[in-house]
């Protein structure tokens, strides 16, 4: 296999969720030529689509960017970079409202104002709700990208790795154009990584199978520093039954007294969560503890129930008459009247590629935008900050990358780098298959991540996970798949699993390094929070001898 196609651009955006789309628009509006490459079809793949649609901005008359800022830092247990949090809080209102310019619609009250709801951890009502949820947001931004003549969209394009120029700056990427089977070089003056998190690593999660963390691994391989990779956020109430609904979630926030006032019950009918509802990490900890204590239902989950809501059946039916709940209904479970079996599941990655407020990584010419970037949340994330961050940091990265492209670059990818990446991919192809059972290796890895890096971790388990990740990498190194031409899904799945195995090792290494309990990172062998030693990021950096794990100071 050889590179048989080449495209040149100013800014290459990898990943077309809400942050990649917003970054592409910002770069194009600043005058840059943009290629937007996405591994699935635009606005029909990726993690953004699963977002319920809450989006935070300090628009309430009693609210301000400063109060918002304080809420983020408090909710994240002090682990976010101060400069990133300020950028997020200060830009939030403008960037959120600006989405209307691209065709996004927000839910409004009878007087025409934005409906602002207050979720746990928010000291003021601050959550706007996008009509159509994450799909509504992605669809509007995708339409704006399609109609921008400076943006070239490449659907079904699986990036395999970054290429740098001879000076070491990011200069593009190599990828498989799945629709024609061509290995393609995308030469760019600046690259924005916007590939999302790696939640698919966990056997229980509420993300699509796309969430394999590809871009985080590619940035790491190119030398970028990663921070807080142990900080996966576990949403409290992800469906674990029936099998066809695995991965959907129901709002634990809807159980609040001023919402539906429901409960999550154990197998003896006792409610598991107190009222008022705790923030996410505390809620999911209570659920995980109850399940561990044997209080779970027949399929290992607890029972989310709003059927006895004091608000009445009509209010419940009205509140749950939205896409997310109608989807559950289509599978034979009525969330308005049935007990829905749930457990904590991986929902969001708070750590990732370390960025500054303009999305710069530690590699020249390489930028990153949520959710593959971090850490602007800390050890827990407020509801509604995920989508807001895509718009704030997507726009900032797009603008900064377009400036970088105008002022630098031109050197082009080092041909030796493109050659090396081509050889790496070509070596995975053979006339026949090596017989490696990719699906079995994947399932084994995901079960191990769930067991050892889920809710509740310790040194012995994390060491086992790191070992298993290395073994999986070694087994995959010998795996070969046929050169199947168009849509070589086996090759994509092999490369994705290689990415997952590498990132599992990084999650394990960072989780081992953080010898304390903070937010969603719960060390059973270090149950206390340790501000004296760990009010710092964990750091993962590639060296010639393998991953280097350490600590990195927070920025004020």
């Amino acid at each position: 296999m050889k590179i048989t196609a080449r495209h040149n651009t100013d800014v290459l955006v990898i990943g077309a969720g809400a942050s990649g789309l917003r970054a592409a628009l910002a770069a194009a509006e600043a005058g840059a030529a943009v290629i937007l490459a996405n591994k699935g079809p635009l606005a029909r793949s990726g993690i953004t689509l699963t977002a319920a649609g809450g989006m935070q901005a300090p628009l309430h008359p009693d609210d301000s960017a400063a109060i918002f800022c304080d809420d983020i830092i408090a909710c994240g247990y002090g682990l976010a970079d101060g400069d990133l949090v300020r950028a997020l809080a200060e830009d939030a209102a403008d960037r959120v409202l600006e989405t209307e310019r691209y065709g996004v619609n927000f839910v409004r009250d009878a007087a025409g104002g934005y409906t602002l709801s207050q979720f746990p951890g928010q000291s003021r009502p601050r959550n706007l709700f996008v009509r159509g949820g994450g799909i509504g947001l992605a669809a509007a931004l995708a339409k704006a990208c399609r109609s921008n003549p400076r943006i070239q969209i490449m659907d079904d394009f699986f990036i395999t790795g970054l290429v740098r120029n001879t000076g070491g700056a990011a200069a593009g990427a190599v990828g498989l154009d799945l629709r024609n089977g061509e290995l393609t070089l995308l030469a760019a003056r600046a690259v924005i990584m916007a590939t999302g998190g790696c939640q698919w690593l966990w056997a229980t999660n509420d993300c699509p199978a796309d969430a394999t963390g590809d871009g985080i691994v590619y940035a790491y391989r190119a030398g970028a520093e990663l921070v807080d990779m142990e900080m996966a956020l576990f949403y409290p109430s992800v469906l674990v039954w029936p099998p066809s609904l695995k991965g959907a979630f129901v709002h634990y926030e809807f159980l609040a007294p001023d919402a539906l006032d429901g409960n999550i019950y154990d197998n003896a009918g006792q409610p598991v969560l107190p009222k008022p509802l705790p923030v996410r990490d505390q809620a999911m900890r209570l659920l995980a503890r109850a399940i561990k204590d044997g209080r779970g239902g027949p399929h290992g989950g607890l029972l989310w129930y709003v059927g006895d809501s004091p608000k009445g059946a009509a209010a419940v039916a009205a509140k749950l008459d939205i896409l997310q709940y109608n989807y559950i209904r289509a599978h034979g479970v009525d969330p308005a009247t049935d007990r829905v079996e749930v457990a904590p599941g991986a929902h969001y990655l708070m750590g990732g590629i370390h960025i500054d407020p303009d999305g710069r990584t530690t590699v020249a010419g390489l930028f990153a935008a949520p959710e593959c970037a971090g850490n602007f949340d800390g050890a827990n994330r407020l509801a509604g900050n995920g989508l807001t961050a895509t718009q704030v940091f997507g726009a900032r990265a797009g603008l900064a990358a377009s400036r970088w492209a105008a002022e630098n670059g031109g050197a082009g990818p080092d041909p030796a780098a493109a050659e090396a990446e081509t050889a790496r991919i070509a070596a995975r192809l053979d006339r026949g298959s090596s017989g490696t059972d990719i699906a079995a290796l994947r399932d084994r890895l995901r079960a191990a991540v769930q067991q050892h890096a889920g809710v509740g971790r310790d040194a012995a388990g994390l060491t086992r996970l790191a070992q298993l990740a290395r073994e999986t990498q070694a087994e995959l190194a010998a795996a070969r798949v046929p050169d199947a031409g168009v849509f070589n899904q086996r090759l994509v799945e092999l490369l994705e699993l290689e990415n997952m195995a590498e990132i599992a090792g990084l999650v394990a290494g960072c989780a081992l390094a953080r010898a304390e309990t903070r937010g969603h990172h719960i060390r059973d062998d270090f149950p206390a929070r340790d501000d004296a030693n760990w009010l710092r990021h964990t750091l993962a950096k590639r060296t010639a001898g393998g991953p280097l794990f350490g600590a990195k100071p927070l920025r004020d």
Binding site: G40, P41, L42, A43, R44, S45, G46, L49, T50, G132, G133, G134, I135, I153, D155, D156, L178, R179, D206, P208, A209, D210, P242, P243, S244, G247, A248, F249, L323, Q324, N326, Y327, A330, H331, G332, S433, I438, A439, A484, G485, V486, F487, Q489, R490
Partner: protein
Amino acid sequence: MDNSPPITVRVFRFDPAADEAGRLEEFAVASAAPLSVMALLAKVRELDATFCCRTSTCFKGRCGSCLVRVNGRDAFGCTTLVRPGETVVIEPHSRYAVVRDVVIDFARPLTAEGESGQ
């Protein structure tokens, strides 16, 4: 173990490099519970790694990544349920060009209505 009868899946197979026309291939999928067409396709992929299908979902029955043709009708694969013992025919959605097997190219609608999504 349960005694549920398997689901019989007849899926469309087409490799543009080797085939002049598509054909249906039959698989038996064991499941005690009803499965969505999308989950069924993933099971077929586990039985035959050369079979291609999309795997991304929005969990809302809306994004359309899973659009296919089920028993002769265009449908969302993620919200169409098949029960143990049933037989189902799964083909590519009728309004987009086929890339391979049941994978379609959303950038190549075959009709003006294609882009509307259903």
